[in-house]
Subunit: 233 residues, 2 copies
Amino acid sequence: MTGTGWQPVRKTRAFEDVLAQVERRIAEDGLTAGDRLPAERHLAEQLGVSRSSVREAMRVLETLGVVSSQVGRGPDAGAVLVSKPGAALTDLLRLHLGLASLEPREVIDTRLMIERWAAARAALTGPDTSVLAEAIAGMDAAASAEEFVEHDTAFHCALAEASGNRLTAAFMRSLRDSLRRYAVEAVVRLGDTSGLQADHRRILRAVLDGDPDEAAEAVTDHLARAYPAPAGE
Amino acid sequence: MTGTGWQPVRKTRAFEDVLAQVERRIAEDGLTAGDRLPAERHLAEQLGVSRSSVREAMRVLETLGVVSSQVGRGPDAGAVLVSKPGAALTDLLRLHLGLASLEPREVIDTRLMIERWAAARAALTGPDTSVLAEAIAGMDAAASAEEFVEHDTAFHCALAEASGNRLTAAFMRSLRDSLRRYAVEAVVRLGDTSGLQADHRRILRAVLDGDPDEAAEAVTDHLARAYPAPAGE
DNA sequence: GACCACAGTATGGTCAGACCATAGCATCCC
DNA sequence: GGGATGCTATGGTCTGACCATACTGTGGTC
């Protein structure tokens, strides 16, 4: 019998309680990266749960990129708060791509969205472009598709970081990492990388000229070349 | 002594091995949402680790939104593969906002980026706009800031879903959820919601007219009204 | 006094084993 | 046939132990 208006009995698992209390502490005490959490045994005792439950909560926090655990003793040992949203995003995207619950096309389109925005933003803020130039030089010297993609990743991530927004930069890095396989395939399929390099130089020039619209267009053309849209779309 | 060229001894934790093997199985066997994983005890025995280690790996997979565990017996019990990237993203963003490792401004700018893109995309695909119209009506009838924000969230999430990209839609939902507090604050600060509603109607009209540029502009103006940029920027 | 060796100790990592609550399944009894 | 009852596989939790690690303090040595 369903739909009787009854609320399902809330059955919180122990580690979820631990998570909630740790999160509350972070918010209330204003903890930030670098601060330490109590030791697992102490936390278990104070919260009245077993150490196993505390450990499961720690695994969750570690997965989300907010905690890092070190063994041993001393100021650096134990669970310390960190800030690694990128690693968590990368794992998330990689697993869901593997599960086929996300299509490569969706990820690529999202990447285009981010990169258009980041390029336009970078053109407006006039960032340090030396890293971009170095990456282009690295691609010129690349001897294999893998090596080319490595410098290509550096170029596009540097572009995202030049936007000044850490969230989009982390997202960009994660998208690139989870798409690495497709990127290598794309380079191999194209064979000739001169077109891609011309795109890169066009993007760099637009950023240097401070022309956001041109930068966005250059990025769009670049990704259209690397990942041609399916015919039907 | 650092920098001697030695590689740190790779010390993989047991649950990380479990994670790697489960992920490999997912990829090799082509498992998708709905498929079941072996029971914790069986997995522990087959992998030669303790059940605790398997459980920690399960917590990670659950956090990343790829498995869901049910107790009991039968076809629905045990660890089942699911596809909930949204919940994982929401937790990620909320925790990092709480840690102050992400500024609200960064999250808001990211939201603007997504929403511009989604609105333009929706205008091109001509989606079902009844949900959007209902959300606007709901905001008209809202009696409190919280209620207004609830329908506002429905409006903007429906817009993102209309883009047809599940990744950006999930990201949008997560951003909204993690920004809920700021959204309520913004509505209270504005006092009058007629301007916001005018924006919503303008966005809807642009989508109906199939005008992507106007849709993007309308979204930009809307968010500028809700979250005014700091003076210095 | 400076320095080094060594025991002490707090930390996370791992395991084994037990017990519980849950929920489907099988059996028995009427 | 059908309902009551016990069985069993599942995740959830706890306890207690042991290990490896890495800092800390202590004491001895030069």
